[in-house]
């Protein structure tokens, strides 16, 4: 699997490269600034781009902007955004195109290697991987807006785990229920959110987008 990395801190960049190579990824480019990142993403069209939000030259949200611009030029280009902090605003912007292949995680999550590598593969496959902190902030809102208000607490929990990018099997494990029960919940969620019948992966992404847009 071919990867492009955008990270300005040498320490973290080298660590990421080492870690990814150890897990069988091929790092085709590792850049340390926004314009360079955009070029590398568009030129190499990697299976997944791993991008830090804050990059030179402005040290603001250069990386995020480069990622969004790259996806404008190469629709559906899978991007995993890493950051020291997560902002719901940015999660929404990343998903605004209505396409999957988006991950948004705290850098802390790298320490759980198995899950981190799993997230990369999921994003590369067109799924989503939203940080639990983004989901937690959403769950903390007691007065959710209309379209999601119809969901039962259990369904909302399933949707949250779905947004984190977990498979039905993983959700079942987390909630101590059978995979079949999870399947029932997801079917109910898709129906309540009024999502068109299509392949399951795509519907999952659309459900997550609706969830984050509330």
């Amino acid at each position: 699997m071919r990867v492009v990395i955008g990270e300005d801190l040498a320490l973290l960049r080298d660590g990421l490269i080492r870690l990814l190579r150890a897990h069988g990824f091929e790092v085709v480019a590792a850049v340390d600034n926004g314009p360079g990142l955009l070029r590398a993403l568009v030129e190499h069209r990697p299976d997944v781009g791993i991008v830090d939000v804050r990059l030179p030259p402005t040290f603001t949200d250069e990386g995020l902007r480069a990622a969004i611009e790259a996806r404008n030029q190469v629709p559906g280009l899978p991007i995993l955004v890493l950051s020291q902090y997560v902002e719901q605003l940015y999660a929404r912007e990343l998903l605004a195109g209505g396409q999957g292949g988006i991950g948004y995680l705290l850098k802390d999550r790298i320490s759980d290697l198995d899950q981190f590598v799993d997230s990369i593969r999921r994003v590369a496959a067109g799924g989503t991987a939203m940080d639990p902190e983004v989901i937690a902030a959403l769950l903390a809102r007691p007065h959710a807006a209309e379209p999601l208000a119809g969901l039962t607490p259990r369904e909302t929990e399933v949707l949250g785990l779905m947004a984190e990018g977990r498979s039905n099997a993983a959700i079942a494990g987390r909630m101590f229920i059978t995979e079949k029960a999870v399947g029932k919940y997801t079917a109910a969620i898709f129906a309540k959110l009024d999502l068109p019948v299509s392949e399951d992966d795509n519907r999952r992404v659309l459900a997550v987008i609706k969830y984050l847009d509330q």
Binding site: T60, D61, Y85, E87, L89, K107, D108, S111, A140, H143
Partner: protein, 382 residues
Amino acid sequence: MTSSSTPDRRGAAVALRAAWSINAQGFLAVLLLPWLVLSFALVVVWVGLPLLAVTLSGVRALSGWQRRLAGRVLGTSTSRPYREIERQGLLNDLGVRLADSATYRDLLWFFVTATFGLALGIVALVFFIILPLGVLASPVMVRTFLTVGSRVLQRSDTEAMAVRIGELSSSRAETVDSQAAEIRRIERDLHDGAQARLVALSMNLGLAEQMVEKDPDLSRELIAESRQSASVALTDLRALVRGIHPPVLADRGLVGGLQALALAAPLTVDVDVVMVGRVPAPVESAVYFAVAEALTNAAKHSRARSAWIWLRHSDDRPGGGRLSVTVGDAGIGGAVATPGGGLHGIERRLAAFDGTMTVASPAGGPTVISMELPCVLSSEKI
């Protein structure tokens, strides 16, 4: 000749009207004078106090008229020179007025108006009757009288400066205080939070290093524990950084910062923010935290399900730009700024930038918190 006589004639007309006004003011002063003397005399038997409050209000109203007249005729700006009365109550009210030097300047000019002013007004009017003497002399007399009057009635530059220095000293003292408290809080948070966890982490790693051969199971456990501490330390640091300077504010400026705040708030928040360019970073930060506090208050106390943020910047005034921010909710109302409370905190934050806050929160709602502060936009793009 005609071209130069037009302004003369207009000046004479203005002066004529002003002379009438001065006469009226003189008559009013003469009518008020005995009441004033009477109330001063009666102060010893207390009944004079309310009477004095009423007559002083009369004097103040008359002085206000005189200031406006002078401003209009002379084309100068006028302002209220009085001290603010903070607490209600007749005695308190009277106390503040009697301690205010503006009151004595009012009284001085009141006596001049009652005597000399009245005479001058009559003379000016009589002069107008014996033209052309009046057209030449009366405007000069009227203008001189008004000029002297406005000098007496306006706060002197030194006094205005003294008042301003007083305001600045107290807002500076509050800023320094709250900054010192903030730094202490950060130090404590670091000391008890991230720092302590890093100590535990390095201890565990050290132990794990020693145990790696003797007891691989234990060392594995210690390493897992260290990873846990590292992630908690990171969470602590993130929370701390958000409290000092939210990263989204650095990334996106006030507009993005407020949008992020609205998304993170535990209620539905409508954002109507229009601003081209960026305000200075300290102002951004003050407004961000003020709005955050207002939203927290709304979420905690108002029982509202939704709130809104409105922000505009205008620079059409001569004194430079102004930033206006309003945060409102349709909750139960009844919000007041108590010392040490959240709203008071907002007031303090804004005072450091000469900003003001007003709270309109009748029982039953809605609550609207309006903030205004002077600031200039930089042309930097958002």
